[in-house]
């Protein structure tokens, strides 16, 4: 009824390897895309500016991590460090006078180089050992940032980002920032959607499932792992640079510290490994729910006239948020993306599947 599967047949490979195999999915995606385009005119600026914008940029970043963790199966605990490399190189390039378009690419490439250089060393080990080496990368980067004033901008370690300008157009409005973030997120999403259908995507999945089995099939697992690290680092670098250019307006080491790395990993895991829509949901949960729950709890206690200590008030949302993560992972260990998939599957031929039962 909702998905209208009648008449949907895939009789050849080209048709079967479409991104959206069911027209309803495509229509939903188009609708969401149109909503995203119209958002600055519909959504109040508070929500556009403090929720949707960071949500989109972090989603792009989380998709990048999903590439290396979800697709290639390599646990990465130093993702924020890679983002920091991109952010700092792009800002320094822009401050030096390089146009922002190139500055962003420089940021991405710098991240890519450092990310894959590190991967060269780190990929000699696997699994938890790899996770620990990536964690080490995070700490190395933290140390470098807090100890090099020339990179981080003086003894306060805050580096002002020049005004973002793309295609000769200075971007200063809320809607402008939003569209930049939106554009980047759409770009990364399209890339990831297509990744599934390419040989590269399949090779990455083969490496994830069993890397020596993949090697027997002729897939050079080391090469693909490096490629995954390099690509995801590029996405991380540009996302980090955009995060600073459109949202923070200055870079500080705390924005890319170890807990941020863990947060991004949580976004990917709660969202669902190798699930694209899951990354959107995961980022929403990890990034936005604390603030939203905070607002709801504060508003609720105010309207009920309860005298709650501000400290208690601050900790209730944390408890709720923690409980939410646990509950979601208990209900569906494969994450929010799988949860969405379950609902979709249930509705796929509804109500006709009910007749059989």
């Amino acid at each position: 009824m909702f998905y209208r599967l009648s008449g949907v047949h895939h009789a050849n490979y080209v048709s079967d390897s479409r991104i959206f195999k069911v027209p309803a999915d495509r229509n939903l995606a188009v609708f969401v895309l149109l909503f995203g385009l119209a958002a600055p005119f519909i959504v109040p600026s508070l929500y556009l500016n403090s929720y949707m914008l960071p949500w989109l940029i972090w989603t792009a970043a989380a998709l990048g991590l999903n590439l290396v963790t979800g697709w290639a199966g390599q646990l990465h605990l130093g993702y924020a460090a890679v983002m920091a490399v991109g952010a700092y190189s792009a800002i320094h390039a822009a401050r030096f006078g390089v146009p922002w378009e190139f500055a962003l690419i420089i940021g991405g490439l710098a991240s890519s180089v450092i990310g894959s250089l590190f991967a060269f060393a780190a990929l000699r080990v696997k699994g938890l050992y790899l996770a620990l080496t990536t964690l080490a990368m995070q700490f190395v980067m933290d140390w470098v940032l807090t100890h090099s004033p020339t990179i981080t901008g003086g003894s306060h370690a805050s580096l002002q980002s020049p005004t973002l300008a793309l295609l000769g157009q200075e971007i200063t409005s809320d809607a402008g920032y939003y569209y930049v973030a939106f554009g980047w997120c759409v770009l990364v999403t399209i890339f990831m959607l297509n990744l599934k259908r390419t040989g590269l995507g399949r090779a990455l999945v083969a490496v994830r499932e069993k890397d020596f089995a993949a090697a027997i099939l002729g897939v050079n697992s080391f090469y693909y792992k490096i490629l995954a690290f390099a690509t995801s680092s590029f996405i991380a670098g540009v996302s980090g640079a955009l995060l600073v250019a459109t949202f923070f307006f200055l870079a500080a080491p705390e924005q890319f510290s170890v807990n941020v790395s863990i947060q991004v990993l949580a976004m990917v895991i709660v969202g669902g490994l190798s699930s694209i829509i899951g990354s959107y949901f995961g980022v929403a949960l990890i990034l936005l729910v604390p603030g939203l729950v905070n607002g709801i709890v504060a508003g609720g206690s105010l309207s009920l006239g309860m005298q709650i200590n501000v400290e208690t008030l601050a900790h209730i949302p944390n408890a709720v948020y923690g409980a939410l993560i646990v509950i979601i992972l208990l209900i569906e260990p494969l994450g929010l993306g799988k949860l969405y998939g379950n609902i979709r599957d249930y509705l796929m031929v509804w109500p006709f599947d009910q007749l059989r039962k």
């Binding site: 002002q160 923070f248 501000v310």
Partner: protein, 412 residues
């Protein structure tokens, strides 16, 4: 169509006027976006409680210019994006004075506040060069910067040595992190100027392992140890000092050392310990006494009484006395309603204001947003804090040189 829209506009404007006149007592709001759940919880409960108590007391006395004051406390968990969200949300509710008490969040809000022309109070946190009002029009780090505090500590040591520091060794133990690294530059400049020997002892966060630093210190034998650490790290330091037989008298802490830390060190064991501060420590502060008798004795306190027996509570009272006093001045200057512009003007008329003996007198001008950066050294005598100096601001020329050098880079 045009007529319709203009008619609508007129109606809505009239509506605004009517509701505006009905709600005469539109409160003066302060946005208190604090970290009440993560890294800064060693101080934020006391400070926010002080803010709420002071707001209550001010309202009991008739508010500011007949209007009530309101402090809106929200948690941002020390996360920049949640701080920005808090700032965005509250500024749409008409708040134009913000306080974050968190360096990362203050840094994140600063560019927005500068652009939106809203007041960012950032006493004791954030970038110290924001005291330069010629660059940072809308940022007011009223109180001492870490640079100023470190210079004042050296000023105090100089007093102890009768003005001659040539044979003196000063150790500096600090979190190896921007917070602790900040004063190094100024200490090095002063070491060169005064001829004392500066020894650096970095300690990794969170300061639970300091054994290496202190055993090195036992060998180096510095005459004084200036400490830039927080909370539990002071307790670890005191244990290491006892183990290495370094007398407590040598320890001069940054302002972040409170009664909880003293209790953890042990009131007796902490005898002789010193700290730099910009507020009067202890319970005998007129404002605090008034709050206790007006609010806590009648059961209207904003939190547990224990929180008020803490120097951070006094710090909070000092910060919010300044914030409310500036609002009062704004009303005197330009009347109601208070706007960001008139509030700024009000702040900049504060002269030798000490909130009835609560803190170092501050004089805010359009150039100096820090208010003079005076601190004093207090010593713990086993029961209470004993002031060792007057309110001093030493080497202000050197401090300002560093400030100017750093602030000039902001607009590049």
């Amino acid at each position: 169509m045009n007529q319709l829209t203009s008619a609508l506009a007129v109606i809505s404007m009239m509506g605004g006027l009517i509701t505006g006149s009905q709600v005469m007592a539109e409160p003066f709001k302060v946005g208190v976006c604090y970290d009440l759940s993560k890294a800064y919880t060693f101080a934020t409960p006391q400070v926010s409680q002080a803010a709420m108590d002071l707001a209550k007391l001010t309202n009991m006395k008739g508010g500011i210019g007949g209007e009530p004051v309101e402090v809106i406390v929200r948690d941002h968990g020390n996360e920049p994006q949640r701080g920005i969200e808090c700032y965005n949300r509250l500024s749409r509710e008409g708040v134009f004075v913000f306080d974050t008490l968190s360096t990362p969040v203050s840094l994140a809000i600063l560019p927005r506040a500068m652009q939106d022309e809203r007041i960012l109070m950032q006493s004791l946190v954030g970038r110290g060069d924001a005291v330069d009002g010629t660059v940072f029009d809308w940022v007011y780090p009223v109180g001492p910067t870490y640079w100023g505090q470190a210079a004042n500590d050296i000023g105090y040591i100089k007093q102890l040595h009768d003005g001659d520091l040539s044979d003196v060794k000063v150790g500096y133990i600090y979190f190896d992190y921007p917070f602790g690294q900040e004063p190094i530059e100024i200490l090095e400049t002063l070491a060169e100027k005064e001829g004392f020997e500066l020894l650096l002892y970095p300690v990794p966060l969170p300061g639970s392992d300091q054994s290496g630093a202190w055993s090195k210190m036992r060998r180096d034998k510095p005459d004084h140890v200036i400490s830039w650490m927080l909370g539990g790290a002071h307790v670890v330091a005191s244990k290491e000092m006892q183990r290495n037989r370094i007398p407590m008298e040598k320890y001069i802490s940054v302002n972040w050392l409170n009664e909880v830390d003293i209790a953890n060190i042990g009131a007796k064991a902490a005898t002789g310990l010193k700290r730099g501060t910009n507020v009067v420590g202890g319970l005998d502060v007129p404002l605090r006494t008034e709050i206790i008798s007006e609010l806590y004795d009648t059961g209207q306190g904003s939190g547990p009484l224990a929180n008020t027996q803490d120097v951070y509570y006094n710090t909070g009272l000092a910060m919010y006395s300044i914030i409310f006093e500036a609002a009062r001045r704004a009303v005197e200057l330009e009347g109601l309603p208070i706007t960001a512009q008139s509030y700024k003007a009000g702040l900049e008329t504060l002269e030798k204001y000490d909130a009835n003996g609560l803190m170092a007198p501050i004089t805010v001008t359009s150039e100096d947003h820090g208010g003079g950066g005076k601190t004093r050294i207090e010593m713990w005598d086993g029961e209470t804090w004993v002031p060792q100096t007057d309110w001093i601001s030493a080497y202000s020329d050197v401090v300002w040189e560093v400030v100017k050098e750093s602030s000039s880079k902001y607009e590049e």
